[in-house]
Symmetry: C2
Subunit: 202 residues, 2 copies
Amino acid sequence: MYKSASNNNELDHLISLLSKIPGLGPRSARRAALQLIKKKDVLMRPLANALASVAENVHPCVTCGNLDIDNPCHICENGKRDQTIICVIEDVADLWALERAGSFRGLYHVLGGTLSALDGVGPDDLNIKSLMERAGDSNIKEIILATNATVDGQTTAYYITEQLKKFDILISRLAHGVPIGGELDYLDDGTLTTALNSRRPF
Amino acid sequence: MYKSASNNNELDHLISLLSKIPGLGPRSARRAALQLIKKKDVLMRPLANALASVAENVHPCVTCGNLDIDNPCHICENGKRDQTIICVIEDVADLWALERAGSFRGLYHVLGGTLSALDGVGPDDLNIKSLMERAGDSNIKEIILATNATVDGQTTAYYITEQLKKFDILISRLAHGVPIGGELDYLDDGTLTTALNSRRPF
């Protein structure tokens, strides 16, 4: 809990809000507030405007769940992208990661999380129903399940695979193995075992 | 440098501003932006308003340099505080730390940094002149130099001590030694040596 520092309600309120940003705690929120005040014109006011503007204008895409000003989003609306392949990811951050890599030119579908018995997240809490609707579209030829390589991510991928079996669609998943630049000595046993079992002819 | 992730200028702009907050890098700024959008009404809009409002209303106190809506600040204006003693600190964060401790009831003077040959910070870049003016006031009986126990902090304290010698004022500094709760085994040699040299009768 944030303890009042400045005896100044307005500043305290700002610090308490800043401390709720993931990555900032009460201490770094105080440091951040002071830095922001020092850089009022180049950082603080622009940030206030950017926050207000994004809150107003950025919304999840009705089709894929991506965040964008346009709705449907610029990826769904981009005619140059492959409209026959959908990559299913957990979160918009994963979509951004794939877009940074720049090697996927199809469409996306953001689940909005993973199934989790522990956290009480069931199929209805994720964008699975809308994925089924898109899969029913005769255009779609392949669905790549790119959930994280975690227990919850893989459970979710398995569940979706089961649901998709009724459609005549190729279902694939990302390859698991040694990351590029990775040294065997530093890899965990699970990754090494997977890499060995999935070995491919040179 | 932040690499565009979302292909969305407005979001990219927000992320690039967030990544300039101390404590957040490009990666955590992306995470923060997504969290903020998820919590639009409870976090994002209030934060935008708080930033704009603090940018507009909070200013450094003309007397001591503390940040406040009022000017002079609520500490300078508080008649119940001891008006004869000034505690000199480097930064507003240090003022907040002392106020949290709650054991000092005098006035403050914020230097705004330390002397640093390396960073090209000279006496004129700090609020030293205004401190001299306050010291010239016949009310002031003691000045506590509470700069950090770093090389720059101590150099600055030494410089100010020299400047204050012409006034008939008691000049003191914070005690150095073993922190409360500190274990000798984990302390650095400098602190242990200081604690030993400054030992006091039981």
